[in-house]
């Protein structure tokens, strides 16, 4: 749109991570004396970061091409690896930080109303700013080591925020679980970095250097596999998904932050960078093969997560848990499409196919961030009004009581279900289209993609069902208010409804504005290593199927809701009614097929842990104590003995070096 000199760009780019970090420090320092200023400081910091990233977006929108790399200094040098403080600004990173800072800003604003009166809210705002800063570092870093720093920072912040109410034992346990499970992934990511660093001839651990390095296909495979494990941990995919539903124990704005803007998006972002990047410039079949085998795994794990999480979401009575499982399921979509590997298709190069798939996942990531933040904040608004009760059986019919929350939740639900022309529709369609195209190639993997496509389609239907089930239960039917609500049972204050309205508008327009118009496609085609070809928007079969699935889901949800409402009066049980009343069928199914086997596995692992691992660890922990304990008695406080001990030590050394020779 307009030109900015390189120095200005570099300064702006630096502002994006630095301003939230400064805000974090300032609000932490202010916290003890003037806690009321902390929200203001945090919102200024995050808003500043958003302004800077918006300027960057506008300034780089017109002319893309090569990524800008801004150098600010050297952190340290290890043998011949120089780890630099550098920002790598390309279209993908810019789009990501714009989304992250924008949504975070509105979450901060929302939190001012939500956290009002909570002791330690200065700590909360400080941590949220730190979270945003760490995420910005993760997205913008040029060096993989600095990226890892942001990655770990995000993990630590999520630990501290999920466990924000650390006096609640569930919150503390959930925080620990989140931290430990994601650590598993982090170790794998670290392994990938070490593997890359050990490669002969690797001079720098930056994205560009890694992508252009001449790596063995086997190395490419292992690096990507480790990266995938890291991403699976961070983005809560099967089998490392268990932390995310528990992470609900944190304050609701934190859930919105973790589920929409930061944290879980990191894994998808990483893979969307690496899968296309690792293909290299020329077509190297063995390398493509290595990438494709990791992609299969990503797609398979995504499909398992998408479907199983959607099934789990159907049985929940806790509104936030429905949304949590829905996040898992939607992230599963993104992983599924990342699994589309580059079999040569028509006139397109394999690189282009992988690039388009990565584009589809990032597009869904961006739109999902808006409507998921909206849904979580709406749920938070409900929770705020209901006196922190979140069980959908305890309240209902809130649409008259809370009109703004109702409207925004409805918009979010429609977007999530993928109704045209809301944002979720376009991005989900893009994913289904890619899977559909993949299944039509007739290559060896087309059957696999056909399965992925049908999983996507079924999940689309289930998604529409569970979100509208939650919507009907919460906002329709008889008005029910739990007694804990007290005098809170009214629409939330302005500071909470304004973010809802803003995000609702965004959820409606963002997809339409950037999807079919091709703006996002055109902009992101400037990201390096993405070889996007121009494509025009058109109505296609997967789209129609997707919309049909969504309509079916909503219709079923509505019918079940009606039926459930009438059973309450008539007590006659039909098929749908019993299904609706007995979510237990699904819970039971899930219990029998997943929970019980997993619990059995868990008890085996637990036994191993108790009987084998713990003694080993304890042995490791006792040895230093034992060694120390042995030598403690020598420290008897007597001067003569100390001199004697010195002399004896000297004699022993002398004996070693003179007599032995």
């Amino acid at each position: 749109m307009f030109e900015l000199s390189s120095e200005v760009l570099s300064g702006l780019a630096l502002c994006v991570p630095v301003l939230p970090l400064i805000a974090a420090v300032v609000s932490a320092v202010l916290g003890s004396t003037r806690p009321s200023l902390a929200p203001l400081v945090a919102s200024i910091g995050v808003l500043g970061a958003f302004a800077a990233s918006l300027l960057l977006l506008l300034a780089t929108a017109g002319h893309g091409g090569a990524a800008h790399i801004f150098h600010y200094g050297t952190w340290f040098t290890i043998s011949h690896h120089s780890i630099d403080w550098e920002i790598r600004l390309d279209a993908l990173a810019t789009a990501m930080v714009c989304m992250v800072t924008f949504i975070s800003f509105w979450i901060v604003i929302f939190s001012q109303g939500y956290m009002d009166g909570d002791l330690g809210s200065a700590r909360f705002f400080s941590l949220v700013s730190l979270f945003v800063g760490a995420m910005a570092i993760l997205v913008l870093a040029n060096s993989l080591v600095v990226m890892f720093l942001g990655w770990e920072g995000v993990g630590v912040c999520s630990y501290l925020l999920v466990g924000f109410w650390f006096r609640k034992p569930e919150a503390a346990a959930a925080a620990r679980k989140a931290f430990l499970v994601t650590r598993l992934g982090d170790v794998a990511l670290l392994g990938a970095l070490l593997l890359l660093a050990c490669q002969p001839g690797s001079r720098a651990l930056t994205f560009d250097a890694v992508f252009s390095a001449h790596l063995d296909a086997g190395i490419v495979y292992f690096v990507l596999l480790l990266l995938l494990i890291g991403a699976v941990g961070k983005s809560a995919q099967f089998p490392l998904h268990v932390w995310l539903p528990d992470a609900m124990e944190g304050p609701t704005p934190v859930s919105a932050l973790i589920h929409a803007a930061t944290m879980v998006t990191a894994g998808v972002y990483l893979l969307a960078r690496f899968f296309p990047g690792m293909t290299g410039e020329s077509v190297d079949l063995s390398r493509l093969d290595a990438i494709a085998s990791v992609q299969d795994l990503a797609g398979g794990l995504g499909a398992i997560t998408a479907l199983s999480a959607a099934i789990m979401a159907m049985g929940q009575s806790d509104l936030k848990r429905v949304l949590a499982y829905s996040t898992l399921s939607q992230l599963g979509y993104m992983f599924m499409v990342l699994g589309v590997s580059g079999e040569p298709r028509g006139e397109h190069l394999p690189q282009e196919v992988i690039g388009v798939a990565a584009f589809a996942s990032i597009f869904h990531l961006l739109t999902h961030a808006f409507f998921k933040a909206l849904l979580f904040l709406s749920a938070g608004s409900v929770m705020h009004a209901m006196g922190h009760i979140i069980d959908m059986n305890r309240f209902g019919g809130l649409r008259r009581l809370m009109p703004i929350t109702h409207a925004s939740f409805l918009v979010g639900a429609l977007a999530l279900a993928g109704f045209p022309p809301l944002s979720g529709f376009f991005s989900k369609d893009e994913i289904l289209l890619e899977l559909w195209n993949g299944s039509l190639t007739g290559g060896p993997r087309s059957a696999f993609f056909a399965i992925l496509f049908s999983v996507g389609l079924i999940t689309a239907g289930l998604t529409a069902y569970y979100i509208f089930r939650a919507y009907f239960k919460t906002f329709h039917g008889e008005e029910k208010i739990p007694h804990e609500a007290g005098h809170h049972a009214h629409e939330s204050p302005r500071s909470m409804t304004v973010p809802l309205m803003v995000l609702a508008v965004c959820s409606v327009v963002v997809g339409l504005a950037v999807g079919p118009t091709g703006i996002l496609h055109h902009y992101l085609s400037h990201s390096s290593h993405w070889h996007l070809h121009e494509s025009a928007f058109s109505v296609n079969i997967p789209m129609i199927l997707g919309v049909l699935a969504a309509f079916t889901g909503v219709a079923v949800a509505w019918m079940l809701h009606k039926a459930a409402a009438s059973t309450a009066k008539k007590r006659s049980m039909g098929l749908f009614e019993s299904l609706a009343d007995n979510r237990l069928y699904i819970d039971g199914l899930y219990l029998a097929t997943l929970v019980r086997p997993l619990a059995a596995l868990g008890s085996v692992v637990g036994w191993l842990d108790r009987e084998l691992i713990s003694p080993l660890i304890e042995l490791g922990a006792t040895v230093p104590r034992m060694v120390g304990g042995r030598f403690r008695s020598a420290q008897n406080g007597l001067l003569q003995f100390y001199a004697l001990a010195m002399a004896l030590g000297l004699i022993v050394i002398l004996a070693m070096f003179t007599v032995a020779r």
Binding site: P624, G628, L648
Partner: protein
């Protein structure tokens, strides 16, 4: 600004200009001792000391510039010296306020004078190209320390600590002199190294490194010389088994004085070791590889026992004493890597960086403990720190940052320091030849993990425990300020370690930046 020509005057004038910071500090110390008998006042003498050290730092900084060619003779003006001569006055400036705040007006001048002497002593040690000067420098650290121990605390426990330190220090000096006399006997020289161009006058190290020399006939005599010298220095470095005094003395003296002991004598000992073994010069192998093996053993035993014993300690200063023993072990490990070669930057640069980093973190920790120490209700046991986080947030955060640094968490200077030592051991050319050095790296990692136990235990007590009893008052704010500065430096230098990289080590004809270290392999 004085130029090379001005200072290249040989003879007394040139030398006294070149050694100006040290001579100036000694002169200022004399002035302070004398003046203190007439004028009393903590503020006055504290300021005099800080300003004097500031001038010394500035003058050393000018001399470390490129205009001054390195020389090696009786005085060695090389890169090790210029690095140490900058670190010492700066840490002295942080040390002085902590110490002065602990004594009353009557003793202030004396403790300032002693500190100045000790700073000059460490600097002189770093410049020593001769055994005589080396011993002089070491004693210029030791003798003021005896006085300071008595000045800082003079109850019964303080007296006991002073006596212990005095006796064992004298014992170790005797060991050093015994070893030095053997070196003299072997070579007929007290000059360690000499760069005279005609090659006629050669120092001890050149003579020993020369294959045609007589040392191969007398390996046992050489071993005795080497072992006694190292044993004599081992007490200052608190290398096991010469560490016994440390916990008792740290516990028996004041917190600020314990901070002094944790760095200044240790720095003098390590730098003296560097000089005697010729690691700063990159000679061949004057001691036939014996020195590397011996230091390897000392490093392993020192860091392992230091960490294992620290776990058991309930007394705060005893724990930090053992932590200091372990940290000394890491620095010895760095020296075990050996001198720089054409391919490899060696362990000297990482050791000096570690020394500076440890000084900042250790002084910061002891400054905060001194600040928290109330004479009525002393902070002795580690549980006395419980609940500190809410009572004194700035102090407890500063202490926590310093502890994180000593533990080696990323984004602190301690991380960079430990990473350098670790990499020096892993990338060393000797690692290929013998696996000993590689094993050393693994042992460092293991020890760092053991260290986490007690460092994090302190942090845990500060932030996650409730106070156990009534809380004492906090001390003078100047100690808090010193601790805060150290904590800020710990983080700042962890992010931008290159700021510590003003000096460079020229070795083997190549330039290796000390930091960012860190250039492990010289660029082709």
């Amino acid at each position: 600004m004085p130029t090379q020509e001005m200072l290249d005057v040989t003879g007394f004038l040139g030398l006294s200009l070149r050694a100006g910071p040290e001579l100036g500090l000694l002169a200022l110390a004399c002035l302070t001792f004398l003046g203190g008998t007439f004028i009393r006042g903590r503020l006055l003498w504290g300021l005099v000391g800080v300003i004097g050290l500031g001038f010394a730092a500035g003058f050393s900084a000018i001399q470390s510039g490129p205009a001054f060619a390195p020389t090696r003779d009786f005085f060695c003006f090389d890169d090790v010296a210029s690095c140490v001569r900058l670190i010492v006055p700066i840490l002295g400036m942080l040390m002085l306020p902590i110490l002065v705040a602990e004594v009353d007006d009557v003793r202030a001048a004396d403790i300032v004078g002693c500190t100045l002497c000790a700073c000059a002593g460490v600097s002189l040690t770093s410049m020593a190209g001769d055994l005589v000067l080396l011993f002089l420098g070491l004693e210029a650290v030791s003798i003021p320390t005896y006085v300071m121990l008595y000045l800082a605390r003079h109850d019964r426990r303080g007296q006991e600590a002073t006596l212990k330190y005095f006796m064992l220090s004298i014992f170790s000096s005797a060991l050093f002199l015994f070893g030095a006399s053997y070196l003299y006997g072997l070579t007929g020289q007290t000059r360690l190294t000499s760069v005279s161009s005609n090659g006629l006058s050669r120092g001890i190290l050149e003579l020993l490194a020369d294959p045609s020399s007589q040392r191969f006939d007398m390996p046992r005599t050489l071993a005795i010389a080497l072992i006694f010298v190292i044993a004599g220095l081992g007490m200052k470095i608190t290398a096991v088994p010469f560490h016994f005094y440390a916990p008792d003395v740290y516990q028996g003296t004041s917190p600020g004085m314990a901070g002094f002991l944790s760095w200044f004598p240790k720095a003098a000992g390590l730098i003296a070791l560097l000089r005697v073994l010729g690691l700063a010069h990159g000679h061949g192998e004057p001691f036939g590889g014996m020195d590397g093996t011996l230091i390897w053993i000392l490093a392993v035993v020192t860091m392992t026992l230091g960490n294992c014993l620290a776990i058991w300690q309930g007394n705060l200063r005893r724990m930090l004493a053992y932590s200091g023993v372990a940290q000394g072990g890491y620095m010895l490990a760095s020296l075990a890597v050996g001198p720089a070669t054409h391919q490899h930057a060696g362990g000297v640069g990482p050791m000096l960086f570690y020394l500076a980093a440890y000084g900042i973190m250790s002084l910061g920790a002891f400054a905060i403990i001194a600040y928290l120490n109330d004479p009525e209700m002393p902070v002795e046991h580690i549980d006395d720190l419980a609940g500190l986080g809410s009572r004194a947030p700035i102090a407890s955060w500063s202490l926590a940052i310093c502890l994180f640094g000593m533990l080696g968490l990323p984004l602190t200077v301690g991380f960079i320091a430990k990473a350098q030592v670790l990499l020096a051991t892993l990338v060393s050319p000797m690692a290929a030849g013998s696996s000993l050095i590689g094993i050393l790296g693994l042992l460092i990692v293991f020890n760092a993990a053991v260290g986490a136990w007690y460092y994090l235990g302190l942090v845990h007590r500060m932030f996650l425990r409730r106070p156990l009893g009534p809380q004492g008052k906090c001390g003078p704010k100047v100690q808090l300020a010193a601790g805060l500065v150290c904590a800020i430096l710990t983080v700042l230098l962890g992010i931008v370690p290159s700021w510590l990289g003003w000096t460079q080590i020229r070795q083997g004809g190549r330039v290796h930046a000390i930091v960012p270290a860190v250039t492990m392999v010289a660029k082709p």
